[in-house]
Symmetry: C2
Subunit: 174 residues, 2 copies
DNA sequence: CAACAATACATCGGTCACGAGGTATAGAGA
DNA sequence: TCTCTATACCTCGTGACCGATGTATTGTTG
């Protein structure tokens, strides 16, 4: 997911690591902060894989910067990751939101719609967090107020997202 | 989080690894599946730390089972992790839901309320995923339909959770 | 003028997680 | 009889991520 965010931000414009870090922090930092010691090795991985190139520039304020630019391979790889996300990226809300944040880079409405439809299919499956045998339990059937909360919140999220997904799919298809 | 789920399930009753895995899969598997190769080492870690003990029983169907029982240290450790969660466990919905699923084991209403209040404080902070300078942007200000979706869904979740939190805190306090 | 914060990058050791694969038993279906 | 599925546990290599720590430079604040 971190790699997707790096590729996604650099797709628009070259950035140096520090600026990239600030953008990633703004995007997902309030939920899941990214440590510097995670970002810099991730940049190195992507560089080693030929997805980005670095150019050293004198720092405008302090130390010299490494300006990062996506290669053509990098641009292609981002589109690939957006078009063919792992199932994890569909089901885990953190990953899904990161994917959504850059989905516009896909630039192909049917491909975008196909990704949204995978999320739609996931949300339409009858799933719960709590079961009696195989039967999913509803919030009303739980005594535990905290577990009831999980289902209440999850249901509200799911409803809002389903309605957004259907609207957006309609406008992508239409 | 995996460790919290293990401790949480074993707090109620001793279980063997395979059954534990099924319960964890039911709880969070549709969002974030847990591999066997993650579960068994985690059990070993907890055993090594003295938080649980294993007893070998002949398998009812096939191979022999290792029935896992929490030690007194393990029971104490679960309560500690529930009462003093890391900030991560408060902000990341996956982690937060796992914590909520076992919060009833805290058995002390003021301690439960204190945890809920940490989540409340987090949700009341004005945070977005997208900014113009320092100002958080609202869904209406975004052109990108996918980014607008993120904010729409996050806002619906937040509203539902705030209302649930306030109700539940009122009943815990009253 | 000294201390501190912000900019900018990096390494190191350790933990956690995953996929691929392995071992073994028992019952069900072809 | 053979294969398949379910039960039940395990190891190994790899990679992701974190906290702690280090190195510079510049601007701000007391």
């Amino acid at each position: 997911m971190l790699e997707l965010a790096i590729l996604g931000f650099l797709y628009d414009t070259p950035l140096h690591g520090y600026e990239l870090r600030k953008r990633i922090t703004a995007l997902t930092g309030h939920v899941k902060p990214i440590a510097e010691s995670t970002l810099y090795p991730a940049i190195k991985r992507l560089e080693k894989a030929g997805l980005l190139e670095r150019a050293t520039e004198p720092g405008s304020v302090a130390a010299p910067r490494h300006v990062l630019t996506l290669t053509e391979d990098g641009r292609h790889e981002l589109r690939r990751r957006l078009a063919e996300p792992a199932q994890r990226d569909i089901t885990d809300e953190n990953r899904w939101f990161t994917l959504l944040a850059f989905l516009r880079h896909l630039e192909d409405a049917p491909a975008q719609a196909a990704v949204l439809r995978r999320r739609l299919a996931f949300l339409e499956e009858p799933a719960s967090f709590f079961y009696e045998g195989d039967r999913p339990l509803s919030a009303e059937e739980l005594d535990d107020p905290f577990r009831r909360g999980i289902l209440t919140i999850a249901r509200a999220t799911s409803r809002a997202e389903l309605s957004w997904l259907r609207d957006t799919l309609a406008s992508l298809d239409g």
